[in-house]
């Protein structure tokens, strides 16, 4: 066994919080959402007027509120990591609960937005814009649901590596929304 294998020097995952496999997942997810957003932006080239008209029916305020909901949720998840490093398990759990509850708030706003669009007659088959809009935001919402489950599991077993790993997944969900929001709601 070489010295590098013994002391871990040269380990590409040195310095990363949480389980290394989570970081492979995070970069994979960024690739998937990146490809979806490139498809969305590419489709806009074929029908810019149609995209603009469809985009005007989106509720920007709800999208904006959800940005603040997720970055606030991310704040609690990040504080949970610091609390885990300080060995304050009770604070870890409270922060994870707050982060997960804000995730539910995000889903509530998203559901309300979908219901409003359905009521206006805009479903997944109402043109390319809405097909891609529902696919991208729906896939992201599924990740929020998955993230809430991860935070709940981590809250039950709040070891440092579990908290770091769960929080990293949650921040990835947050990061994706930070990019989805301007591309889908604001770029015109």
């Amino acid at each position: 066994m070489s010295q590098a294998e013994v002391d871990g020097s040269g380990d590409p995952f040195t310095g990363l919080p949480g389980h290394p496999m989570m970081w492979i997942l995070i970069f994979s997810e960024l690739l998937v959402f990146g490809a979806a957003l490139i498809a969305f932006s590419g489709a806009r080239i074929a029908d810019p007027a149609g995209f603009l008209a469809a985009q005007n029916h989106l509720d920007r305020l709800t999208g904006l509120i959800n940005v603040f909901v997720l970055i606030t949720s991310g704040l609690f998840a990040a504080i949970a990591v610091e609390a885990a490093r300080a060995g304050r398990t009770r604070l870890v759990r409270w922060c994870l609960v707050a982060a997960a509850l804000l995730g539910l708030v995000f889903l509530g706003f998203k559901a309300a937005e979908y219901l409003r669009e359905f009521a206006l007659g805009y479903g997944i088959e109402s043109g390319t814009f809405f097909t891609l809009y529902y696919l991208i935001t729906g896939f992201h919402a599924l990740h929020v649901i998955g993230g809430i489950l991860v935070l709940a599991l981590v809250g039950v077993w709040p070891t440092l590596i579990n908290v770091e790993t769960g929080a990293a997944f949650w921040h990835m969900v947050d990061l994706v929304w930070l990019i989805v929001f301007p591309v889908v709601y604001l770029v015109r």
Binding site: F27, I38, L178, I179
Partner: protein, 89 residues
């Protein structure tokens, strides 16, 4: 630990401010046709937010190579998206 929490709250405030700036830029434009400068501003603000999130929330402060890789990946994606938006305009 209080110092760490203060740092995270500051990061939250910066991301909130950048988000508000992006919405303000979008509202201030308000035109029917795309505007190249608006696109550049929106993507720049988005990159700044993502960089803050990667550094402080994802805690890549102590993994310089991964931090650069994350920022580089996001920058590359946003440049492609910006290019497509400009072509669409």
């Amino acid at each position: 630990m209080n110092g760490a929490i203060l740092r995270l709250v500051k990061a939250w405030a910066v991301m909130g401010g950048l988000t508000a700036a992006a919405v303000f830029a979008g509202k201030a434009h308000g035109g029917a046709r795309p505007d190249a400068m608006l696109m550049v501003v929106l993507m720049g603000l988005t990159f700044a937010k993502a960089a803050v999130l990667a550094h402080h929330y994802l805690d890549l402060r102590h993994a310089a190579g991964w931090n650069s890789a994350m920022r580089g990946s996001i920058a590359a994606l946003l440049i492609v998206l910006l290019g497509l938006a400009l072509v669409a305009g």
